[in-house]
Amino acid sequence: MKIYLKIWRQKNKDTKGQLEDHTLDNVSAEMSFLEMLDMLNLKLAKSGERPVEFDHDCREGICGQCGVMINGIAHGPLKNTTTCQLHMRSFKDGDTIYIEPFKAKAFPVIRDLKVDRTGFDDIIAAGGYVSVNTGQAPEANSIPVTHNEAEAAFDSAACIGCGACVATCKNASAALFTSAKISQFTHLPQGKKESAKRTVDMVNRMEELDFGHCTNTEACQIECPQDISVLNIAKMNFEYNKAKLKK
């Protein structure tokens, strides 16, 4: 099929970017979205132009590197799907596709579709860990964890940190990401111990960075490739308020 692209080109974070038109013939429906971009880049490279830079790593939906805005929606039209898992069969012959980077003050564009998500790392560094060495994987039944708690922790831990929540949120809030990273520990005995300090530290770090404040529009969960629940945010608010009241 023939695909018309309007793709964001930007030299670096200090220059202004704009959309650039490209046309691709013979795009196959079986191609993944990133393979379609590979095809474009091959074409650009052959004609001596600078290829479009975009982030990607696993290409199997687990690393969270590949997020871009596709036709105005984070990771494109399919629900609960990363950009790399989106395929060209989701588009029709003759379609025009707008591709833009995630835009938020906290995610400055490095080049083209590539953004700097260091803000997420900063939030993790503020408390997204357990500060004792837990050693080797322990015998599975030595620390009792109920099935439901284990599942809940795992649901939160499924966050791949792609940044779609921030890109989608009208406030550019990182509440879904931060809350998922807090909740995954809070559900488990190893993480519970430091829960109050971790929550306060991570929330405070998030507030200091260039993210906005959550107002519960719930758009983040809808566009999250992992369908991380907004109730993580409520739980984070609960832990935060509890910690503040206790002080």
């Binding site: 929606i73 984070a74 707008y98 833009e100 107002t215």
Partner: protein, 208 residues
């Protein structure tokens, strides 16, 4: 935000219950409503609550402006193609706009009823109580005034439709079952308040 919002919600209930007295038959309503208003303005407990109310409106508004400016700053550059709206309700995104309409309304509302009652000179009824009843009834004879009220109350209704459940989330209600219940109660609350407050101006305009 959540605490001031919830206090304002609580106030809305009391305020509505008080003002539903306006719907009684004219003779009864006039004396009873004026007596009620007189009682409120004299009561020390009500006085304290009213100061909490003024403070809540102010703090809520200041917080609203803070959140909106922060959101604006954090959002960075706009998207050329933006279809993010599919993921959320319009009124959840327009809380500032809805709130601003409510705020503008409050200014008018205070100027028209609160200020004259507290500081102006208005007529008294046969019991010697200030005749707020007639002031209200006369105001609602004007169609444009009724429409103004309707617009503001609809804005408030949508504000509550998002605000009520959102406040509980902000406080930290995360249990999947109870959050669902609160969401349903919030819808009921918003609808009840909207219709409750709409009835009064329309009833007076059409009937009195």
């Amino acid at each position: 935000m959540a605490l001031t919002g919830l206090f304002l919600c609580f106030f809305l209930i009391i305020h509505l219950l008080g003002n539903l007295q306006l719907l009684l038959p004219k003779e009864e309503a006039q004396l009873q409503y004026n007596l009620y208003s007189h009682f409120l303005s004299g009561n020390i407990l009500i006085k304290i609550v009213s100061y909490v109310l003024y403070a809540s409106i102010l703090l809520h508004t200041i917080d609203a402006i803070y959140l909106s400016t922060k959101a604006k700053k954090a959002s960075g550059e706009t998207y050329v193609k933006d279809k993010r709206n599919r993921a959320s309700k319009w009124y959840s995104r327009q809380m500032m706009l809805l709130g601003t309409i409510v705020f503008a309304f409050l200014v008018i509302h205070f100027k028209d009823f609160w200020y004259p009652y507290k500081f102006g000179s208005i007529e008294t009824d046969i019991n010697g109580n200030k005749d707020l009843y007639s002031l209200v009834v006369v105001s609602f004879q004007e169609l444009w005034y009724v429409i103004l009220y309707a617009v503001a109350i609809l804005a408030l209704g949508f504000h509550l439709l998002h605000g009520f459940f959102s406040a509980f989330r902000s406080v930290g209600l995360y249990h999947p079952y109870y959050t669902k219940i609160v969401k349903t109660i919030g819808i009921g609350f918003a609808v009840l308040m909207t219709f409750g407050y709409l009835i009064i101006p329309f009833y007076i305009f059409l009937k009195l």
